[in-house]
């Protein structure tokens, strides 16, 4: 078991192996992702009952919540991949981290924008400085910082290392940021505007949500594969296997 894991780890370190295997894996993520997203969307939009309080605006939940969950998870994944790169010098990890950043940021943006749009009919305002919302906004800032830094560095190696260092520092800070924002919020904020509490959701509402969450995860995986494959090609472009690949394409 341990040996098998170790072998997998070493193989994951091999870009060529990853490139070849990911081509075979991609459809196994992409097709279920599309299915889940389509089924979940249709179910959520057309078949799930309306919320008795919020009416139909509640259907936004089917993208809002999956996007919010993923945006947070993606940051942790990016930081961990960066850490693996820094500690074990595994280049694949750096490329995965670089691939995650824009995807995570766009999901973060989606969570924010769908939340804001949802806020208008429910709270009568696009934005309030609620703890949850604020910490999501700060997460977006963290993503921006990492991406801007990666862009600004001149060489591939420094860009990967700088991004990794910053995302690790950010990861350590996330709980602190979250704690401070929540503490701040409970002191300042009149508790009138709150996200719906852990409402006991009806089954017909919950199942499409779960399907959407699974769909978003699969989509996320697909996107990471696609981007990481590009990173592999770019960084290995002078290796003979990539050269052959490119020649064969013509």
């Amino acid at each position: 078991m341990w040996e098998a894991l170790k072998r997998l780890y070493h193989r994951m370190g091999s870009p060529k192996w990853f490139y070849e295997i990911s081509a075979r894996w991609l459809p196994w993520f992409a097709i279920p992702a599309a299915l889940c997203l389509i089924v979940g969307t249709v179910w959520g939009l057309a078949f799930a009952p309306a919320d008795y309080q919020q009416g139909n605006s509640f259907r936004i939940i089917y993208i809002h919540v999956p996007a919010a969950i993923l945006a947070q998870g993606a940051y942790a994944m990016m930081a961990i991949a960066g850490g693996i790169f820094l500690i074990w010098r595994m280049k694949m990890a750096a490329w995965v981290a670089a691939a995650i950043a824009p995807i995570g940021a766009s999901f973060c943006f989606l969570a924010l924008i769908t939340g804001a749009i949802w806020g208008k009919p429910t709270w009568g305002t696009w934005w309030v400085w609620d703890a949850r919302l604020t910490s999501m906004l700060l997460l977006l800032f963290l993503y921006f910082g990492v991406m801007a830094l990666q862009k600004a560095m001149e060489t591939d190696d420094t860009s990967a290392k700088a991004g990794a260092i910053l995302s690790l520092v950010g990861l350590v800070n996330i709980p602190i940021i979250k704690y401070s924002v929540e503490w701040w919020n409970t002191l300042h904020q009149p508790a009138t505007l709150k996200l719906t509490e852990e409402s006991t959701m009806a089954m017909e509402m919950l199942i499409p949500l779960l399907i959407m969450i699974v769909g978003f995860y699969l989509l996320f995986a697909t996107l990471i594969f696609m981007r990481t494959r590009n990173e592999v090609l770019w960084h290995e472009r002078k290796k003979s296997w990539v050269k052959k690949l490119i020649e064969a394409e013509k």
Binding site: W127, A152, H188
Partner: protein
Amino acid sequence: MSLVTATIKRDLIIAARNPGEWLNPLMFFLMVLALFPLAVDPDPKFLSKIAAGVVWVAALLATLLSLDALFKADVEDGTLEQWLASGESLYAMALGKVFVHWCISGLPLTLVAPLLALMMNLPDDAYAALFFSLLLGTPILSLLGAVGAALTAGVRSGGLLLSLVILPLYIPILIFGASAVYHAGIGMEYAGQLGFLASFLCISMTLTPFAVAGALKLNLSR
């Protein structure tokens, strides 16, 4: 193609290759906006009262920070020296550089400010005023800022010095810009403030390039 247009084109190409040049001021703008509710008070009513001022202060600071790099790279790599050696008009060069700077900082800022003002709960009536006051005001910020940037281009830790030189000059624009938005928000007339900004824009468009040209020459006569 003259050296002026060639330089404008070149600077725009550089900005296009470094998206950070125009994205970073925008992100900074957003972040500074977020500081206030966090530090002061997130109550929507309160925010709606300070929104006009805070949005303007944030826009001003974002412009200020982006100015640091305006001439510094050109001084350090010798581009400016070549410009001066070419015998072409430094006045035109100054205007060209400011134009490019505004395109990559003031203009995007003006375009997104109304969106971000939503977060500050800006009164509905004030959006037009915010947009137009920024549209007239940000070019002035770029023009005046260019004077400071040119003066401090040769200085090592120029960023902070630049702020000190320029902030006092920015005060009138800040006052008129913010008050236009504030007055619009409480339903009052704000054409006067915009008029002031427009006329100030005309004056600074004609005068500041001279100052910029003079300051740039200073950096070189060593």
